[in-house]
């Protein structure tokens, strides 16, 4: 199984396996990470905010307008900010490193 490398809000780094049929948000939530995702993944809140490691940010599909607009409701937004519900995982993201943004 391909893996993700996750840094949680306390700074702890760990590896999780992922299924490429799921989004990044779903994989995080399934693995018990504290990620609110209150809208359930339809890009309508901004509570699944993550930072993507610089090495990976350009390999992801570009953000659409919806996601960029929703990020306006998030805080501590950086150049590598994304909403994890909008990231479809595929095999090629094996080793993707992300950090969960503050609440």
């Amino acid at each position: 199984m391909p893996k993700l490398i996750i840094t949680d809000r306390s700074g702890k780094k760990s590896e999780i396996e992922y299924d490429s049929n799921f989004t990044l948000m779903e994989s995080l939530r399934d693995n018990g990470y504290d990620i609110e995702a209150s809208c359930g993944g339809c890009c309508a809140c901004a509570t699944c905010h993550v930072y993507i490691d610089e090495k990976w940010i350009n390999k992801l599909k570009n953000m659409n307008d919806d996601e960029e607009s929703m990020l306006d409701q998030a805080f501590d937004v950086k150049n590598n900010s994304r909403l994890s519900c909008q990231i479809d995982l595929s095999e090629e993201f094996d080793g993707l490193e992300i950090e969960i943004a503050p609440e």
Partner: protein
């Protein structure tokens, strides 16, 4: 003045609305309370234009369409809505319960049905250290009385409709600066062009950045530190008005002594009653083994809850199960 009804439903989302239908068929009258300014809950607030594909017999329906059709469906039962307010307190009475909202509406009812979804929509507060101590003095998340801002220096934060509308409106009588993390806005095109026009004319200022710190300076003035890329800058104003949309939180319900399971209200799967008799919970706010947070499940829960609420409302009557397809009496209630 205290109004009287049979049931107060907390939350006017799809499940709260359908509960009016199921209760109405049993001659039970309802009032609904919701903190939003509109009916429909998350469907209307978060994803009005987005499609839902798992409502039986509706291959696709948007959040707003579903809301509109539910309103139509419950219209024969004439529910009363109390919008823009949150239920704060409940108290037991001989009749049942008195439910009181944060703006003083009081309704007495036999039963309470909590259909509050993921909780009440409240303003999303920026995570700035100590901001609470400035709230309702120098920091406002909603505007009730705009006269206090007259001739003052304001910093409005955000890039959506509220931020832009208030920037345009308050610039008439105040010195307004708008701060947003980027120069694009997700607001109505009209408001965006109006704001840009005001900026060109020098009537408002625009800053790119995100607020990081708040501190007090003399009198009621505040200093805000913000970051644009890696640059740290300061601005001094009288008021900060952050508009970062809404988030959901359980709110006062958590303090009513109901048994909870991780912030969800525990119910039994026969009656959907909580640990407190005559208080029910349906939809995303409840929990029982096997619970799925689907609108579909909430509809089912409404129907079963109504059977039990009937016993509280009409203790001496027998509830005879009937179908809307064949019962003349039910059809009369529906006006068909």
């Amino acid at each position: 003045m205290t109004e009287k009804t049979d049931v107060v439903i907390i939350g006017a989302g799809p499940v709260g609305l359908f509960a009016v239908f199921e209760l109405g068929l049993l001659n039970i009258k309802c009032h609904l309370v919701d903190n939003l300014d509109k009916v429909g809950g998350q469907c209307a607030e978060l994803y009005p234009e987005k499609p839902i594909y798992d409502i039986p017999s509706r291959p696709v329906v948007t959040g707003q369409e579903l809301t509109d059709e539910l309103i139509k469906q419950i219209n024969p039962f004439k529910p009363k809505f109390h919008l823009n307010q949150q239920v704060e307190k409940i108290a037991k009475t001989e009749y049942g319960w008195i439910v009181e909202t944060n703006i003083g509406t009081k309704v007495e009812a036999k039963c309470i049905v909590v259909a509050a979804g993921a909780g009440s929509f409240v303003p999303r507060k920026p995570p700035i250290e100590n901001i609470e101590s400035f709230e309702n003095k120098s920091v406002f998340y909603a505007i009730r009385d705009k006269s206090i801002f007259k001739n003052k220096k304001l910093l409005i934060a955000g890039g959506g409709d509220s931020a832009l509308d208030w920037t345009n409106e308050l610039s008439k009588d105040s010195n307004v600066t708008l701060i947003h993390r980027r120069k694009e806005f997700r607001a109505a095109p009209d408001s965006v062009s109006k704001m840009q026009e005001l900026e060109t004319k020098g009537k408002i200022k625009f800053l790119k950045g995100q607020i990081k710190k708040i501190s007090k300076i003399q009198d009621s003035r505040i200093m805000l530190e913000y970051e644009n890329d890696d640059e740290k800058l300061n601005i001094e104003v009288d008021y900060l008005l952050p508009f970062f949309g809404l988030k959901m939180e359980l709110g006062p319900i958590a303090k009513w002594g109901l048994n909870l399971h991780e912030n969800l209200i525990k119910v039994d799967t026969e009656k959907f009653e909580t640990s407190t008799p005559s208080i029910f919970a349906i939809g995303d706010i409840n929990w029982y083994p096997g619970k799925l947070k689907l609108i579909l499940s909430g509809f089912h829960e409404s129907a079963l809850m109504a059977q039990e609420v009937f016993k509280y409302c009409f203790p001496n009557k027998k509830n005879i199960f009937r179908y809307t397809t064949s019962s003349k009496e039910l059809q009369k209630k529906l006006g068909v």
